[in-house]
Subunit: 210 residues, 2 copies
């Protein structure tokens, strides 16, 4: 097997790899075994060059006649993105959004597990919500440490965000996906992704207005 060098893939490439793989899963299901860059590009709404560039970066080679072998490519993307034992994830804040994300996500990926949820509402805690055990937030550290959890999704009320984030880092969380409307700051070595629905809608509104 080719020696892979993917020490520092561009962020956008990583995102596209995730999406390539999802599309390729579908292609496999349809019985396809090989795929050309222009086919994949069309399905992803990209240029063929960009597809080939991404695959070049992860050191995968196709053949001029048959294109890329889907199964090999999926496996390689898996070795790059997934960790062997899988990653555990927690959801903090089991309001509408937290529950929606949880039930949407559960079982979607082989190597990513939502193993716990947290809330400060006693109505929700100490029971199964959307298929996941929901604990009171004051047990964050305990559960994170016991289960060696590294990734947290924040879907809680704005007021509590900063305090919870601090506790998460203290407990050993290394990556945060922040869906609250409160921008966070994290120390070096901690990874943060932020996404806000309102911002996306306002951007669209701006574009449509033109």
């Amino acid at each position: 097997m080719t020696q892979i060098k993917h020490n520092q893939l561009p962020g956008k490439t990583v995102e596209r790899l995730s999406q390539y793989r999802r599309i390729l899963y579908n292609s496999i299901r349809e019985g396809k075994t090989n795929i050309y860059s222009h086919e994949l590009a069309k399905m992803m709404n990209l240029t063929p060059v960009q597809v080939r560039r991404d695959l070049m970066l992860i050191g995968y080679s196709g053949s001029q006649s048959k294109g890329y072998v889907i199964k090999d490519l999926v496996d390689l993307i898996g070795r790059i993105i997934d960790s062997k034992e899988g990653q555990k994830i927690i959801i903090v804040g089991m309001g509408n959004l937290g529950r929606a994300i949880t039930s949407y996500f559960v079982g979607k990926r082989e190597k990513l597990f939502i193993v716990a949820a947290f809330d400060n509402d006693l109505q929700k805690t100490d029971r199964i919500v959307a298929g996941v055990p929901c604990y009171h937030v004051n047990r964050l550290k305990e559960v994170i440490e016991k289960e060696s959890i590294r990734i947290a999704v924040l879907t809680l009320a704005p007021e509590a965000t900063h305090e919870v984030a601090r506790k998460l880092l203290d407990a050993g969380i290394r990556g945060i996906l922040n869906y609250t409307s409160v921008p966070l700051t994290v120390p070096p070595g901690i990874y943060l992704e932020e996404y806000d629905i309102v911002t996306s809608l306002e951007k669209l509104a701006y574009l449509v207005k033109q």
Copy 2:
């Protein structure tokens, strides 16, 4: 008032403007009237230069002694992002995610209105869901045209995505925010934003793994 030239602001700048405004609302609530670039930068997790650059692009000037006048800045961002009469938005797909987004969003912005939702489940249609009237999808075109709706949020099952997108464009939708896991292609002049939770999580997992 300064003549504004914002024909074609960079996409990233538009996103940040939306976020500046949200933060500035809070600052106003706390009684602040002026703000320096480095203060805003710190709250947003950016560099002061980037803040000043963005404000330069929208033609807003501050003073060396007092920084920026928050109220003026908020107003200016509003004139750039918002349209005077506001923009109407529909949600297509009232599953968990659709309902969560709707109830999260309702009332969040003065100039953005979720005016209708659609689903193909008769259990959900012709009633108020999360504060918004929910119609059957076969009434998409009718409602969109009657209400002059330009923006749609897609939170439906993957299978139906392509067909629904086609209908939306046919009915006159100009901007789509796609939360399904199916990449879309749209003709020129139509704006598309795509976001996928799984991709964000996989990216985080990749980063944390390093």
